[in-house]
């Protein structure tokens, strides 16, 4: 078992005073439970009792005021704090890598209000996505953010990583949904960013925390855009001969101003895995939803463009199969128990580079010794480009080497094709090494300066995304 981190006893005493004795823990079971998020190499190792490190202490505040006190004490005693949303992040962003103190944000999990006139709702940051959506659905609304981690990730976590849901082509990414937020800054001060649709008051402060990965502040509340539950849903699917043709069809559909909620292009291996009856083809599924008139018009547009470009209609059934399987990650643990390793990598590019990116990235990952499966889909579309999401699995002799080499191959192929190294999972600590090439030296330096300006003691989430300079 890994060693526990250490923390000054005076800090513990002060924090106890702020949050109450029952909300601060150093029990072995708690330290084990907050030691790891869903970074898959860490999960793989966890079955052997190898955890990256045990935190020194777990602190569970109930509100922003308590977090303000905790961060003030952290600055006073130079204690590093790792914010922990729900631990679903896949890049190690919530791992207390140096045995840091964990700030558990999951007690702050309440629905606050719904403004039906303005179509916005407010929640505490620690609410799980599925619980958030239930609250809204019960009242006749949806946020439209349904990531694969829907049942185990929080609103605050979505904001921290610039997450995206499966229905993003209509509803957008989280950065398109958040209007306002409450943030505890690293020095313990409270920042309120008021919810308005747009404003012209200098650079947008909320952009600092959208994707901040808990390094620049703790998002405790957020006001998000909501939509009435759809009146009509149309599900369609088509089969095409190649990824290239499929990408071109989606590009044409989006150029026509269609906004289907779900658009997914599955490469041949994923088409075969999801929809066994379709061989040697690339499937696209579409879900259009909303007001009946718009949805029917959009449905007709999609059908026409797909068929004009050689699409073979494969019906609603493929969409239903995907809907049924979309949260099923059950194979991963089975493979890992047998000594294999699995993971996913999501990147993004313009349409002009999209097909080459897929071909280069998949080829490079397949070439790594130990690979047994590399497959992909495009899952989030914009008029200008798309997110490519690759799943890989390997049974290598040296798991650590295979895992690192596969990631390196994927990142290098992405950068070579003018892509961005992350679309929605973020950087955490695992993808940090590629930030120089992603942002360039001046981009990294600018982020380092921002980090230092906000958090000169480097209190928040040290070792993740960016460290101060």
């Amino acid at each position: 078992m890994s060693k526990r981190g250490e923390v000054p006893s005076k800090f513990i005493e002060k924090v106890k005073g702020a949050v109450g004795e029952e909300n601060i823990s150093q029990t072995e079971c708690d330290l084990i439970s907050y030691s790891l998020d869903y970074w898959l190499y860490g999960v793989f190792l966890s079955q052997y009792g190898k955890l990256p490190s045990l935190p020194s202490v777990v602190i569970s505040p109930k509100n922003s005021q308590e977090i303000q006190s905790i961060l003030k004490y952290a600055n006073e005693y130079k204690v590093h704090i790792t914010p922990f949303g729900a631990g679903s992040g896949v890049l190690g962003g919530a791992i207390p890598i140096k045995g840091d103190a964990v700030l558990n944000l999951q007690r702050m999990n309440k629905f606050i209000s719904l403004d039906e006139t303005s179509l916005v709702a407010e929640f505490e940051g620690g609410i799980i996505g599925a619980n958030l959506e239930r609250e809204l659905n019960h009242r006749g609304y949806s946020m439209g953010s349904i990531p694969q981690s829907f049942h185990c990730s929080t609103l605050g976590g979505w904001i921290a990583t610039r997450a995206v849901g499966q229905f993003s082509t209509k509803y957008g990414k989280i950065e398109d949904m958040v209007l306002g937020m409450e943030v505890v800054l690293p020095d313990g001060n409270l920042l309120n960013i008021k919810p308005v649709p747009r404003r012209s008051t200098g650079p947008s402060l909320k952009e600092l925390f959208l994707g901040g990965e808990g390094t620049l502040g703790i998002v405790t509340k957020a006001v998000v855009s909501v939509h009435p539950l759809p009146e009509r849903t149309i599900k369609q699917s088509f089969a095409f001969p190649s990824v290239e043709v499929a990408l071109e069809v989606v590009r044409k559909i989006l150029r026509g101003d269609a906004k289907p909620a779900v658009v997914r292009i599955f490469d041949e291996p994923e088409t075969a895995r999801y929809f066994g009856q379709i061989k040697n083809k690339v499937a696209i599924i579409f879900i259009s939803e909303g007001e009946t008139d718009f949805v029917e018009l959009e449905g007709r547009l999609i059908k026409r463009i797909a068929e004009e470009n050689g699409g073979e209609t494969t019906g609603e059934k493929l969409v239903d199969i995907w809907l049924e399987k979309r949260f099923d990650i059950g194979l991963g643990p089975i493979i890992m128990q047998q000594g294999g390793i699995v993971d996913t990598i999501e990147v993004v590019s313009l349409f002009k580079d999209a097909a080459n990116l897929y071909n280069d990235m998949a080829s490079a990952m397949r070439a790594v010794e130990g690979a047994i499966s590399v497959s992909g889909h495009y899952s989030h579309f914009y008029r200008e480009g798309a997110c490519l999401y690759i799943t890989f699995a390997g049974f290598p002799k040296d798991t650590s080497r295979y895992y690192k080499d596969t990631w390196t191959a994927a990142m290098e192929a992405t950068l070579k094709n003018n892509g961005s190294i992350s679309h929605h999972h973020g950087i955490g600590f695992w993808r940090k090494d590629f930030m120089q090439e992603e942002l360039g030296p001046h981009g990294v330096e600018l982020l380092q300066k921002i980090k230092f300006a906000l958090d000169p003691n480097g209190i928040l989430n040290k070792g993740k995304l960016i460290d101060g300079k």
Partner: protein
């Protein structure tokens, strides 16, 4: 170590992304990662691999579970119920004498009186092969018991009522991990039912039904008797016209007891009754098979009284949000746990509105 399959299953759960955590009432009420299903599985795996040093702390976590089955319903894997693994750990805690204090006291009372509450009178009324088992929780709720008796009288059904004294299904011992004590209680219950020559038994308590229809078989005790919950019996009486009721003109919210919904699979019968009573049903955000456990009572399925209070408070708040005229449950333990909203059992509401047989 249990079988290879069981180790594989608990490892799958330990390596999963916690895809059911949004359904776990103990987690939702506390925000505590450690009590989530996947983290409990990791801890169980680590216990099996001898990585855990703080055994008492580990067993305490095993008793911080509502045993409600929400994780089973939302599990990615077929035929896996984390509760089975938790239950085995509770049994080990009992064998080693490392029980939470409140649970230990409960076991001691049971050992002395043959029930979880203490000295009790024997209840034996009526005749016939249709039985009505007065569960321990119903024995403690005389208002509910009188309501059921009133309905039985009005319906003119011939029913043999029994309970009290040391007649108990043994559920408190099961959840405490005392399997030998549980088997003893189960054998006694089997004798009590067989000597009364009962063919069908009605009871208000979902846990009694779960024990007698599922868990008794697991410990090798088979009862050749049909068990039905009171809501099924009442729904049938109303549908067949054996009892008639006045119609209310009000709104009602029904709290689905977790075992009734998740293990026994009953969610429509109570709603049918409530509608037949003339209520307009207002559903909470979490209902039917998505219900949240009420938390029960201290030293029940959850040992720790503070944790019980947290789960009680969360469910109370969820129900109150519906702002209904009447709150209704179908489990005497839920009624105690949710007493802050003056909740009634379905049988009490039927008894209030019953006209005649």
């Amino acid at each position: 170590m249990e079988s290879k399959k069981e180790l594989e299953q608990i490892t799958n759960c330990a390596l999963c992304g916690n895809m059911c955590k949004d359904s776990c009432p103990v987690y939702l009420a506390t925000g505590n990662e450690t009590v989530t299903p996947q983290k409990k599985a990791r801890l169980i795996l680590y216990k099996k691999k001898a990585f855990i040093e703080d055994e008492k702390g580990f067993f305490d976590v095993m008793f911080q579970c509502a045993m409600c089955g929400a994780c089973k319903i939302n599990c990615l894997y077929d035929n896996f119920d984390l509760r089975d693994s938790i239950q085995r750990e509770r049994s080990e805690a009992f064998r080693k004498g490392i029980l939470p204090d409140e649970t230990r006291k409960q076991v001691e009372i049971f050992a002395k009186f043959g029930n979880p509450d203490g000295e009790r009178q024997l209840i034996q009324k009526g005749a016939g092969n249709l039985g009505y088992l007065v569960s321990c929780s119903t024995y403690n709720d005389q208002q509910l018991l009188k309501a059921v008796e009133k309905i039985l009288t009005k319906s003119k059904e011939q029913v043999q009522e029994f309970g009290g004294a040391d007649i108990c299904c043994g559920a408190p011992l099961y959840y405490a991990g005392d399997l030998e004590g549980f088997k003893k209680a189960a054998k006694k219950m089997k004798r009590e039912i067989e000597q009364r020559k009962l063919q069908k038994v009605i009871t208000n308590c979902p846990a009694c039904i779960k024990m007698m229809t599922e868990i008794y078989d697991e410990v090798g005790i088979h009862l050749d008797v049909e068990f039905i919950h009171t809501v099924e019996f009442l729904a049938a009486l109303l549908k067949e016209g054996k009892i008639k009721v006045n119609k209310a003109n009000a709104t009602a919210t029904f709290h689905d007891p977790c075992i009734l919904a998740n293990d026994i699979g009953i969610t429509t019968a109570p709603r049918d009754i409530i509608k037949m009573l003339g209520f307009d049903i207002k559903e909470p955000v979490y209902s039917g098979k998505d219900t949240h456990c009420c938390g029960g009572v201290p030293a029940g399925k959850i040992a720790d009284s503070k944790l019980v209070s947290s789960v009680n408070a969360m469910r109370t708040s969820e129900l109150k949000e519906t702002v209904a005229d009447v709150y209704i449950a179908a489990c005497p333990t839920c009624k105690v746990a949710l007493s802050n909203i003056d909740i009634k059992d379905v049988a009490e509401v039927v008894a209030e509105q019953i006209i005649n047989g």
